[in-house]
């Protein structure tokens, strides 16, 4: 399979060249074109993530030796809080939904845009304003919050650091998430092309749709929770203050009622990306389309039932503990179904290797490790031992970074040619993958060991027995980041100087591969009439369908 097109130039009229009413940057930051908004999210999200990565490196550097290494303890508390707040609220929660969902959801269902384009732009502005408020909190009031990204009471209402501004920023960010979810649900219900039935929509759309429901129903609970923290700090309305009869556990409940479903906001679109990439590079339909579709919905629903597993040692009733433990084991089932289906998709497929596929396979491996370590914590007896240790830190990095993070890169590798019209060089991506895979496991596997040995999380100092694995972990962080840099540099270069990709470099069959790269402003010249099944590599190839034929 040779990639690239015979043509030597990008299509003249694409979504980047469309002239708006203002000219220049204003045409982008005031654009209601879902593709431009997707790119805006891409740029802003990656910028914040880069900062959070640097903070992570600093944290690892501090932990390479016991005692003070490069920062004071108070600074270290602020560092891990900031790392968490940025990575969670500014990267993985909006992440794939805001970037790939915005860019591709309408195209995948044959629509010209989302249901509410202006609301979509508002979503991005809420993201930027919320992010700016969080950044401002670092430099104003009492300075950067040191509560951890979870803002537990009573410390969060007593600390002199600028928690108020930070949580109000989170409140505004919540609106961004809600508006995106609202937009996508309406879009999928109302704007599918003729013939695009519910069971013909691509699995990324199923994932995005399920995610949107979580965004709509779970985020408001976080909104009121952070608002109440702000009320307590600003107006002395002490709803969680134990000194006036408040229940700090109530805070934890409300916080995790959002934050557990939030992790499914993080992972579902990533799983959707995996479900798109595998059929294309195995050149056969996804195994068990309906099972994966229903699993997405099941994960979204079950995700609401398990939040108490973050609170096993908090003082909850015994009844609650075993109820949540049981439910936690149940929620693993739909994810497992997906993993089995993905592997079955590859079985007896005509595999074409590519960096996108390699990152996808790494996702399956790393996500599985993360999931299995989750089960250990779902069981009450072992959870008592691992709670608040590095085991948890290792677990969630395997899931969020090994899962969402790797899937994000896979998605970029897969869809970059469509978004930019150009191809990247394979070699830096393969080498980058190798560095990232080795570095990732060197960085995070020791955390599982350290946690099991008893190293607490969010600790600045530790006993000398732990140092060996900390050194391994820190060295792993350097290897990992060098891989990231290699890949990032190649992406940057390829944006402007890569060879022309053409409409369908990978031979995909979903609708985005039926239109030019980059896509024109209105996506489709003529709205397609869909008569083929989603992953049909016989009848779904662009050259075989009516619109593909008419377009060429």
């Amino acid at each position: 399979m040779s990639y690239g097109s015979a043509d030597n130039s990008l299509p003249l009229k694409n979504f980047r060249t469309t002239k708006g009413r203002h000219g220049g940057v204003l045409d982008w930051i005031l654009s209601t074109d879902h593709k431009r908004i997707g790119i805006l999210y891409l740029i802003s999200i990656l910028s914040f993530t880069a900062v959070a990565i640097v903070i992570g490196l600093l944290m690892r550097l501090e932990l390479i030796a016991p005692g003070e290494t490069i920062v004071k303890p108070e600074t270290y508390n602020a560092l891990f809080t900031l790392h968490g707040v940025i990575m969670i609220f500014l990267f993985v929660v909006p992440g794939l939904q805001a970037i790939f969902g915005n860019f591709f959801l309408p195209i995948l269902i044959g629509a010209r845009d989302v249901a509410f384009p202006r609301l979509n732009l508002l979503s991005w502005w809420c993201y930027m304003i919320g992010a700016l408020m969080a950044v401002l909190a670092l430099f104003t009031g009492g300075g950067a919050p040191d509560t951890g990204w979870t803002f537990y009471v009573p410390y969060s209402v007593r600390t002199s650091t600028n928690v108020s501004l930070a949580v109000l920023g989170v409140f505004v960010l919540g609106f961004s998430s809600i508006l995106t979810g609202l937009n996508f649900v309406t879009t999928v219900h109302r704007m599918r092309a003729p013939g695009m039935t519910w069971f013909r929509i691509p699995l990324f759309v199923w994932a995005s749709y399920s995610t949107s429901w979580i965004q709509i129903l779970a985020t408001p609970v976080l909104a009121i929770t952070v608002l109440l923290v702000a009320f307590e700090r600003l107006f002395a309305i002490g709803i969680f203050d134990p000194a006036s009869g408040g229940d700090p556990l109530m805070y934890q409940h409300l916080f995790w009622i959002y934050s557990h479903p939030a992790v499914y906001i993080m992972i579902l679109p990533a799983m959707g990306v995996v479900s798109e990439i595998l059929p294309t590079f195995a050149r056969k339909p996804i195994f068990g389309y309906k099972a994966i579709a229903f699993s997405s919905l099941a994960i979204a629903f079950f995700g609401y039932l398990v939040w108490g597993h973050h609170m096993f040692t908090s003082g909850m009733s015994d009844t609650a503990r075993w109820v949540f433990s049981l439910l936690t084991f149940l929620v693993a089932i739909p994810s497992a179904i997906k993993v089995f289906n993905w592997v079955a998709t590859l079985y007896k497929g005509a595999i074409q290797m590519s960096p996108a596929l390699l990152f996808t396979m790494a996702f399956i491996f790393l996500f599985s490790i993360g999931g299995l370590t989750g089960l250990i914590q779902g069981a009450l007896a072992t959870s008592i031992h691992t709670h608040d240790t590095y085991f948890v830190v290792g677990h969630f990095h395997y899931i969020i970074f090994g899962g969402t993070g790797f899937a994000f890169i896979a998605g970029l590798l897969y869809w970059f040619p469509k978004m930019y019209g150009r191809l990247y060089r394979m070699k830096p991506m393969y080498i980058g993958w190798g560095l990232m895979f080795v570095g990732f496991n060197a960085l995070y596997f020791p955390m599982l060991i350290l946690g099991w040995m008893g190293m607490p999380r969010r600790y600045y100092d530790y006993i000398p027995e732990f140092q060996f694995w900390h050194v391994v972990s820190t060295v792993g962080s350097w290897i990992l980041v060098s891989g990231i840099i290699l890949i990032a540099v190649e992406f940057f270069r390829a944006r402007k100087h890569g060879p022309i990709a053409g409409d369908n470099p990978w031979g995909g069959v979903t609708l985005e591969w039926h239109i030019p790269s980059p896509p024109p402003h209105e996506n489709f010249e003529v709205i397609p009439q869909v008569t083929w099944d989603t992953y049909d590599f016989e009848h779904g190839l662009p050259e075989k369908t009516a619109e593909g034929a008419s377009h060429s």
């Binding site: 129903l217 556990l249 609401y304 909850m316 009733s317 015994d318």
Partner: protein
């Protein structure tokens, strides 16, 4: 040329009378000192009032099925959250 989407004026007024009556009911029930049951009574009456508002004022009764399904999902989610939280606070 466009189809009417609302009900006859009189129907809305009837619903309003129903709401007024239920309000009178809940106020009198409160002064009757049912003790433990007064909270339950208040919530039941409030639920009936809400149903009137949702079904008729907000037109859910006459909307397409998808609206009813979505509303049910939202209410179900809230119920589930409340029940599971009570699994903790009720048994501490």
């Amino acid at each position: 040329m466009e189809k009417q989407v609302t009900l006859p004026y009189g129907k809305y007024v009837m619903v309003w009378f129903g709401l007024l009556a239920l309000t009178a009911l809940t106020v009198t029930a409160a002064s009757l000192h049912f003790g433990k049951w007064s909270v339950l009574a208040a919530i039941v009456i409030a639920t009936v009032k809400s149903s009137l508002v949702v079904l008729y004022f907000m037109n859910i009764k006459y909307e397409e099925k998808i609206f009813k399904i979505m509303l049910a999902v939202a209410i179900l989610t809230l119920m589930v959250i409340m029940v599971l939280t009570f699994a903790d606070i009720l048994f501490r």
